[in-house]
């Protein structure tokens, strides 16, 4: 019995030592960290580059501050708010979201009827306008249907519809409607514009076009 306590102590030490040297059981694999929700996402996204709005495919939508230069004429125009717009090389163009109305501008070589007439084919091609009796329109260009004062330009207007060139009705992308020819002059080179509103559209669309026409002027 006298050796019992030391032996017990030694046995305990040996046991603990052997036990401590035993190989540890394999730890459970640590799963990858769960997906962090947006709120705790560590890195902010890289800011996308701002669009240049030089093509309609960029999807730029006009707001109240949008202004487009008309080539190198020094005239600027505000497209109707909410319309898609692009400042293309030839000049600004804008389409209503439903493509039921459109507006395009180019620089003109002068203010005479022939100068206005010469600018029309490019605009009609751009907006895909057809069924316009050019001979009838050419004769009408001597006297405008209406004159309006824009912000910084004097504007002459001609409306082309079924009523003015019976029985043909102008079309845009194959759909009938009413065409508006716009000629504006100011201190610099003049500009010519073309607007189209599809038949059956609400009067507000034509009003939006007229409002845009009246924004012609220098850069704000």
């Amino acid at each position: 019995m006298t050796y019992f306590k030391p032996l017990l102590f030694v046995g305990l030490i040996v046991g603990l030592t052997l036990g401590g040297c035993r190989r540890r059981p394999a730890e459970a694999p640590v799963a990858a960290a769960p997906t962090a929700p947006i709120a705790s996402s560590p890195k902010p996204p890289e800011p996308p580059p701002p669009p240049k709005c030089e093509s309609l495919s960029e999807g730029c939508t006009a707001d109240a501050q949008t202004q487009q230069p008309i080539a190198e004429t020094g005239l600027w125009v505000q497209p109707p708010t909410g319309w898609h717009y692009a400042t293309e090389a030839a000049g600004p163009v804008s389409f209503h979201a439903t493509e039921s109305a459109a507006l395009a501008w180019v620089a003109a070589r002068g203010t005479q009827p022939d100068d206005v007439f010469a600018a029309l084919p490019a605009l009609m091609t751009r907006l895909e306008v057809a069924q316009v009796k050019t001979d009838v329109l050419r004769r009408r260009l001597g006297k405008p249907d209406s004159r309006v004062e824009a912000r910084g330009a004097k504007v002459r207007l001609w409306e082309v519809s079924k009523a003015t060139q019976k029985p043909a009705q102008p079309t845009m992308k194959g759909r009938p409607g009413t065409l508006l020819v716009i000629a504006a002059e100011h201190d610099g080179p003049p500009v010519v514009g073309l607007a189209f509103v599809l038949e059956g559209s609400t009067p507000e669309l034509a009003a939006e076009v007229m409002k845009a026409v009246q924004t012609l002027g220098g850069k704000l």
């Binding site: 990858a32 997906t35 947006i38 709120a39 999807g59 909410g82």
Partner: protein, 545 residues
Amino acid sequence: MTQPALGTILSGRWQLVAEVQALPMGHRYEARDATGQAYTVTVFLAALTQNPAAWQALKQDAQATQALPEAHVLRTLEVEVDPQLGVAYAVSAKVELMSLRQRVGAGPLDAGQTSRLLTALAEALSAAHARQLVHRSLGPDNVFVNGDLGVVRVGDFGVAAARALVEPGWGGEPGFCGPDAANIAQPAQPSMDVYAAGALAFYALTGRSPLLSAQPSPQGLDINALWAELQVPIASAAQQAQRLGAHLAPAWDAFFARALAPMPADRYASVSELAGAFAALAGPRPGTPQRALGGTMIMGDIGPIAPPSATSLDYGTPAGAMAQPTSAPPMMGFDAPAAVQAASTAGPQTSEELALAGVPTKRGLMLPLLVVGALLLCGLGGGGGWLLYQRGQASRLAEASAASASAAAQAASASAAASAAAAQAAASAVEAVAPPPASAAVAEQPPPAAPATDALISFECKPDCGSVQCDGKAVELKDSALRLTAGGHRCVFSKPGHAPATVKLTVEAGEAQKHEVTLVEQKKTTGPLTPKPKSNCGTFINPCK
């Protein structure tokens, strides 16, 4: 940016393992993280990241989905741009569900399933609308369901808003968005989702978008035609479905006319209201055969159809509205006690049993038979005289008040008769206290006459009716009246020297109507007709006020 190849690891975390679907705004993949957990990753077109407003909208809406109920919404876990590849993507949990398009592709849903779909959509969208979040592009490709529509989840929140900013010309899911959602100039409104939910209901019931121009075509989608069609209200969804080669009962016309109204103000105020209206039309027990006046099936392919039974129809229901079969009176619906419901639903299954339970003239026999059965069980069975006596008792019982009926039910249920007989007794008791007068003491009334299918319509004409055409056919009035069949009619009264008068009628069977017709005398012009003044109104210049 080109489409990332399979195996690509985005942001070092999400490995694309399979392409699931091509989307208008990119591609949807199945992806896995380092633990092997499956996710759904949507890789967006570069145009979206190049538009700051679109990218911001997508991020904001994805963030907002975190607060929406997970039971009905596929939350977006992450919206990022891979820094090396420049690929924009969104991550959401992968769910073992099919798209609604896949589900409906296997066959249109019935009204009960469609009701469940709408209820789930209402929960998801109501929560979203409460947080100023409008889906705007709800369609069969971003609603995910399981086979029995027990699970419904909405995905792609925020994508529509971003897409509207990137893609010119169209704002919503063509064929499932109204004119307001299609016009991206219009700010997002909950009413846009109301229209989409209505269109999805139409799609679920018919397998087709409600718009003719939105049907799949080899020529692709004609946006102009679709835009024009969107401006015109759908007067009859049933006729529209017929044009699309599908079947839809006319009873749905009013629902879809409101759900798919071009003007947002004319639609249901919310998706919840729309879902409620649908559920009300679908009936208290989805799957129960329901019929409109004249025995027309009104629910499409729903459950077993009871044979036409004149006495089982509620002729007091207005034409075009849902007729409740008297075999399932309102009390037997969700408001009835569970035991009674069980009894009623466990009741008639065959057409013969349906007719027995639904025909009031035989209802009086049920209770006496049961009482006799109980008496027999108690050893008090008797001869034929006793049985006749019990029948007399039964007639009186049928006239009894709710208290006596309840007592009868208790007596029957207390008896040791078979449990099926007890259930029948309970059903009879409920019918006895049901408010419709047809349920009381019908046995003593003479058998009902053949149901009226028309009504007497009389006219009071000033100065007189002249010649009359109804529905394009000349008719003769007898005593200034005629009989017209139930439904809508259009009668034109004409008389020389008078402007014709048109009367539009909605005739309900058996309900006489009287209409006043005034024929206005036309003033004779002495000279040649004066030409109509030429309009000087223009479109741009001098527009008409």
